[in-house]
């Protein structure tokens, strides 16, 4: 059984966000790049499923050479093979076209991704890839099981959850709860170097959206402190000053 896991490169959440002076792009020199946190959940669950049933976990990522360390980290966690489509992931549609194009060329049973990336939080690529490949797509899955023929999963809906059953192939976007992200072992790190990482050229794909003019949120005003001895004053402020209760 082959499971494809798509991973994305994002700035570490604790990174201070700074833009170039013209506000057109992220200033990158001090950024620590990591695997998108929710992709690590997806990857770990995919590894657990593979390890219980045998097969391969194949990483597919769209990016330039600076993605390679992240694919190697996925190897250290247990992934078997890696493909990097050699292009800047210019926008979600472009990225999805690249992923779908490569995925069509390999046999697979399921595709895992994180629900959204932590940088743009668009949650776009999983659904787009599913549509381009004509597959069922289950989004925001906190629980996933596979008995060898049928996958049973939960998906979060407004005010509750649903149990969904689906036969492979399909696309699943994982969210927290599906498992705990795995930390690479020393042995994993040692073997990561020997695993195959293939770089493939990008295909023509349209870029449909563009980001421009970044800006930082307005500075928050001072926090108005209320003495713990008179907490009632807080309710009064919310009622008369902020007028929200």
């Amino acid at each position: 059984m082959n499971i494809i896991v798509c991973i994305a490169k994002v700035p570490d959440t604790t990174t201070k966000i700074v833009f170039s002076p013209d506000g057109r792009q992220l200033a990158t020199p001090n950024i620590q790049w990591v695997i998108n946190p929710l992709d690590e959940f997806a990857l770990t669950r995919a590894l657990e499923i593979k390890e219980a049933k045998s097969g391969k976990v194949i990483i597919v990522s769209v990016g330039k050479a600076d993605c390679d360390p992240l694919i190697r980290k996925a190897f250290a966690m247990g992934a078997d093979e890696g493909i990097r489509v050699d292009a800047e992931p210019a926008d979600p549609y472009f990225t999805s076209v690249q992923l779908a194009h490569y995925i069509r060329t390999v046999p697979f049973d399921m595709i895992f991704m994180g629900r959204e990336t932590s940088d743009f939080a668009g949650a776009q690529v999983p659904g787009m890839v599913a549509e381009l490949l004509g597959l069922p797509f289950i989004s925001g899955v906190p629980k996933f099981d596979f008995d060898g023929t049928l996958a049973t999963m939960e998906r979060e809906i407004e005010g509750g959850k649903e149990t969904v059953k689906v036969k492979p192939p399909f696309v699943v976007s994982a969210q927290e709860g599906i498992t705990e992200p795995r930390i690479p072992t020393m042995r994993g790190i040692m073997t990561a170097r020997t695993k195959p990482l293939k770089v493939v050229p990008a295909v023509t794909g349209e870029i449909l959206t563009e980001a421009s003019n970044y800006e930082l949120p307005p500075q928050k005003g001072e926090c108005k402190m209320v003495d713990a001895e008179t907490p009632e004053k807080l309710i009064e402020l919310l009622h008369t000053e902020a007028k929200i209760i």
Binding site: G127, P142, E162, L238, H239
Partner: protein
């Protein structure tokens, strides 16, 4: 042309957040001098759907089909796509619900539409180019996104406009999409919905607890406050990880992102991952024993103190205010 607005319904009613989205789409339609059409799938009465007009939609399309009894992103997006073609929509607006999140990207790929998500302001359109402000980098920045694709889709964050409600009603049309069983690859075998609970995505006030609440047995203090304020109840990641509260209540980077008018954080220090999910709130109130807790830098009002002493007195004060 027209603007199509995807609308969620629950328990036979259009959801509050969807009514806000109808207003958003209608405002956009007015600016473009075109018609706003709401579309929904499922069991809703004609009277209820005509309410879309109160929020500015001229027409409401009701999609009905036996294959759409449960949510399947492929079948549903195909159905919505057929409506979009029928009403010649070149802009489709979605809200922030779970079905919107699954449908918008599918439709974008299907129509090769430019998709911009998480809009936090009304979109501007000139010469076929749509520009809209959205939040990026976990709310640490904003960016203006543009698309010049002939078809455009935007998803809108909750709570960004205050709708003006009129007495106009929408004309309601039934639509039966052309679907086959092959479009429906998933089977929903169980639905678990808690009723009577205020949804975090719909709540205008949220009361949230962190590790400082010391254990699940103390949540009744937050529940009392939430009950009086008609607030949703949320928690921080450690609280969900320790199983004090369900993961569905976790707000933050890997949990739910919320944008209420008022977010009351009790015993939450405000790690950057938590703030990522709540920094769209209009007012944050922080109650924490640690005066250095980062949550105070985001908060409009704060109390440095013991939640177990402060909360009962706050509850008493709210009770007094409301009586």
């Amino acid at each position: 042309m027209s603007i199509l607005i995807y609308t969620d319904n629950s328990g036979g009613k259009i959801t509050k957040s969807s009514l806000d989205v109808i207003y958003y789409g209608s405002k956009l339609a007015k600016a473009l001098n075109t018609e706003a059409v709401a579309v929904t799938v499922g069991e809703v009465t004609k009277e209820e759907l005509s309410r879309a007009g109160n929020y500015g939609a001229g027409k409401a399309v009701h999609i009905r089909h036996d294959l759409l009894k449960n949510f399947d992103s492929k079948a549903w997006s195909k159905a919505v796509c057929q409506v979009a073609a029928k009403v010649s929509a070149d802009i489709i607006v979605f809200g922030h619900g779970f079905s919107s999140k699954a449908l918008a990207p599918r439709l974008a790929a299907l129509l090769k539409a430019g998709l911009i998500v998480n809009a936090v302001d009304i979109a501007a359109i000139s010469d076929g180019k749509l520009t809209v402000k959205r939040s990026v980098y976990a709310g640490k920045a904003f960016s203006y996104f543009t698309t010049s694709a002939p078809k455009k889709i935007i998803t809108v964050q909750p709570n960004i406009l205050s709708p003006e409600i009129t007495s106009q009603t929408a004309t309601v049309e039934e639509f039966s999409p052309d679907l086959s069983p092959a479009d429906c690859g998933t089977e929903v075998t169980e639905v678990n919905k808690t009723t009577g609970k205020i949804l975090l995505t719909e709540a205008s006030v949220i009361v949230s607890g962190g590790r400082g609440m010391k254990g699940p047995e103390n949540w009744h203090l937050l529940e009392t406050l939430a009950g009086m304020l008609s607030a949703g109840i949320a928690c921080s990641k450690p609280v969900a990880d320790m199983h004090w509260r369900p993961h569905s209540e976790h707000v933050g980077q890997t949990g739910l992102a919320v944008r209420p008018n008022l977010y009351i954080a009790v015993g939450i220090s405000g790690a950057i991952q938590h703030l990522a999910g709540v920094n769209g709130s209009k007012y944050i109130v922080a109650i924490n024993t640690d005066p250095e807790a980062p949550i105070f830098r985001e908060a409009a009002y704060g109390i440095v103190g013991d939640a177990f002493k402060v909360l009962p007195r706050l509850n008493e004060a709210v009770k007094k205010l409301q009586s």
